[in-house]
């Protein structure tokens, strides 16, 4: 069965520290991969996406993600976290077609001063 795993439910980092959020997928073939961010009380906003090509993807708000086929991973990173990055982050995989989108359960990021 297709699945997306975000092993960290909750992460706390200090402002200015680096961040890595983990995402692993299990699909028959490499899916399209996305990271979305959800600020409190808001809908989801796309941070970045990977379809093919360069395995290091740059996104908005200074985020990047690296696709590693051998590890079935698509981890999200940011070199220096800002207080405004506190939100919930979702890794999403899509193998194409309407019913083949799978959301991870999300990682809630807390940023402390």
């Amino acid at each position: 069965a297709q699945s997306v795993t975000q092993p960290d439910i909750h992460i706390t980092v200090s402002e200015g520290a680096s961040l890595e959020l983990r995402c692993n997928y299990s699909y028959g073939a490499t899916p399209y991969l996305f990271w979305y961010v959800q600020s409190p009380g808001q809908g989801l906003q796309l941070l970045l996406k990977y379809f093919s090509g360069d395995t290091l993807v740059q996104g908005i708000k200074g985020f990047e993600a690296e696709f590693k086929r051998s590890q079935s991973s698509f981890n999200l990173r940011k070199p220096s976290v800002h207080w405004s990055d506190a939100a919930e982050y979702f890794c999403v995989a899509n193998s194409g077609g309407y019913q083949k989108v799978t959301f991870g359960t999300g990682t809630k990021l807390q940023v402390i001063p």
Partner: protein
């Protein structure tokens, strides 16, 4: 910019009431989706539509129906609301058949008493 709007941000209803949640997108997108979001479960697909008057069941359609009479509008209907339908409801749209990036509305937080 794509804009997806939802008719209400917060809604309180009583058990047994009929509830309508409306979603409108302004970018002529083909596909529209309704998800519910619950803590620890991520987003789960209720229904989606790939064309006017077309609908497909998602993973958790029980207790819900949908209507898409116009391309820009996708309605979610709770025929007889129950307390276990208390949740955050998110509408999303995508341009074409391969889904790619989903654009989300701000969400409707529904409380059923």
């Amino acid at each position: 910019d794509v804009k997806v709007t939802q008719s209400s941000r917060y809604l309180v209803k009583r058990t047994g009431e009929k509830v309508f949640l409306e979603c409108v997108q302004d970018m002529d997108h083909e596909n529209m989706f309704w998800y519910r979001q619950d803590p620890g479960l991520g987003l789960r697909l209720i229904y989606f539509s790939y064309d006017v008057k077309m609908k497909e069941k998602g993973d958790i359609p029980e207790g819900y129906s949908v209507s898409r009479e116009k391309k820009e509008r996708f309605s979610l209907i709770l025929e007889s609301a129950s307390t276990n339908q208390t949740s955050m409801y998110l509408c999303a749209s995508t341009l074409g058949r391969n889904q790619e990036t989903q654009y989300f509305g701000p969400g409707t937080r529904l409380l059923v008493l």
